[in-house]
């Protein structure tokens, strides 16, 4: 039998990491950043792929939650979203890991900034 891939609820809290309502936490930080173009594109890909039926918001959340707490603490919001979108599209068979890897190599070869690599 395969090992379970979903992290278990912790014994102390009886809940998974994302279920954080009511837990202790630090002060509010109201610093705001403007969304970068690549972040807006990630958001748009999610909306379009779900509208076209490739996966649902529940699929997005499942992959986000399965990434675990470390990802929440170390990756930005849309970094986690693009990772989750990728998981869902791979599962849906939209493209293969190999296709993605090859395309990422091509993108990286184009330049050192987002503008260069994405063609402006």
């Amino acid at each position: 039998m395969d090992a379970p891939t979903v992290p278990p609820m912790t014994e102390e809290t009886g809940r998974r990491w994302h279920d954080m309502g009511g837990l202790k936490a630090g002060p509010l930080d109201a610093t705001q950043h403007d969304f970068a173009l690549w972040e807006k594109r990630v958001d748009a890909l999610m909306v379009l792929c779900s509208a076209k039926g490739y996966f649902t918001v529940d699929g997005l959340r499942r992959a986000l939650e399965d990434m675990g707490e470390d990802a929440f603490e170390t990756m930005s919001y849309y970094e986690r979203w693009v990772a989750s979108i990728n998981n869902n599209l791979l599962e849906a068979g939209v493209y293969t890991v190999e296709e993605l890897g090859r395309r990422m190599q091509e993108v990286m070869a184009r330049g050192k900034t987002y503008g260069e690599a994405s063609g402006g």
Partner: protein, 219 residues
Amino acid sequence: MPHDHHDHDDFHHDGMSPSGHPYRADNDTPLTYWQVMEIAIRELLIDKGIATASEIAVQIDTMDARSPADGASVVARAWTDPDFKGRLLQDASAAARELGFDIGALRLIAVENTADIHNVVVCTLCSCYPRNLLGLPPDWYKTRAYRSRVVKEPRRVLAEFGLTLPLSTRVRVHDSTADMRYIVLPARPAGTESLSEEQLAALVTRDSMIGTGLPKSPA
């Protein structure tokens, strides 16, 4: 950052896109792994005919066009039209659609602030937000601090936003889900009897519709 692989005599001016325009500032930082992944996924989707570049651009424009001003216009209508307010509190999705807003399939619920009750909205599990009426959520809405604490010690959290409520005010915190999202209908400020709907809408802040603030007072 410098584009040191370009000659100074190169046709493209340093820092300019192939079309000769300056890159947006946020496009000019070193490329990250996740940005590479976004570009690759987007191109694969386009190559496979799943989405077009223009569909993606239109979706970004649609999201960019959404702002708290949309929610504010709904609030101002509710302040000036009691029948509309009744419909809004009955079914906020349908009422917002009356004003031409695309609410999608989600169920939108408006919760009314009164002299005795103050409502606050959160999504403790993730980041669900009435984005169709307010645009994308502020960063703090998605933080551990807000998600964890506002359901446990809302008065303390509101005080950190500069909002101290009298103890006689009952505070209600509403936890959103992906399919069911809340928006606060703030109380109409005193001294606004003579204002037009448009002037009223200008008093309605984003935070007043999340519940972490109040509408502005008339000038």
